[in-house]
């Protein structure tokens, strides 16, 4: 029987913000949570009905606080860029995003806002960051 499945190593998966990956990233998590509406009428005879009305899509990116020496780098967002983004407001806080799953999986795109940015530093280890994003609007497969 031919092997029709193809596993993928984690480093092939990337969240891109404005077509840039986050520099120093060690972990990227995607979460799709359906928005569920509950209803019940007498005709349901005590059995609740559920309907999915949408999805809440969130990303979490964790990595090492890293700065690139070049200004205006077109391929990566370093920790300065992420910090700048975390301080933006209104429409400036919305960033186009693309989610790539290697060359075989489907890619998805949408617009995200950063809902949390944390930098952690101690005396001995590398400084780390965590950035949380939430998709605003549609999140759709790229055809």
């Amino acid at each position: 029987m031919p092997d029709t499945t193809s596993r993928i190593l984690g480093y092939n998966i990337a969240l891109k913000l404005n077509s840039k990956t986050c520099l120093g990233r060690t972990q990227e998590d995607l979460s799709v949570t359906p928005t569920v509406k509950e209803s019940i009428t007498k005709d349901n005879e005590g059995n609740k009905k559920y309907a999915i009305t949408g999805q809440e899509v969130t990303f979490k990116v964790s990595g090492l606080v890293t700065f690139d020496s070049a200004t205006g780098t077109t391929t990566t967002m370093d920790s300065d860029d992420l910090m700048d983004q975390s301080l933006k407001k209104g429409s400036a806080a919305e960033i186009p995003c693309q989610y790539y799953r290697g060359t075989t999986g489907k890619a998805y795109s949408g617009t995200v806002i950063m809902t949390n940015y944390t930098e952690s530093s101690n005396a001995e280890d590398e400084a780390t960051y965590t950035a949380d994003f939430k998709v605003t609007g549609a999140f759709e497969a790229v055809s």
């Binding site: 984690g10 480093y11 120093g24 990595g63 090492l64 001995e124």
Partner: protein, 124 residues
Amino acid sequence: MTDSLRAKLVYTCRNICPMVLSEDETKVYPYAVYDITSVAQRDKDGVYAFFGDTLIRVVSNVKSEADTTAAAIQSAVETAFRDGYSNFVPGDFSKDCQEGIWTIEMNYTLKQYADWAEPIENND
């Protein structure tokens, strides 16, 4: 990036005393035995560092010689491995004497963030 923690450690201590692996221990004092267990650190774009759990054990039959050698190695290592391309975290230090042989053990976590090559020395 390639792991050069061992090479840099041996090069750093080259003028202090012989740095050997435990298999090469001799009775010619003083000498230092080293052992590094290094692990590659990766982010999604590849290896960005090597971290090495490092033991340096200075051995001598003269206490002052052991002290002097250990202090020189400590100074050299802590200077060489804080150069912007590498770093260190000091661990436990201990001293012991058995049957007239002094041993001073120094533990470090050595960190390498960029490629390193032994400098070409000009002896002209």
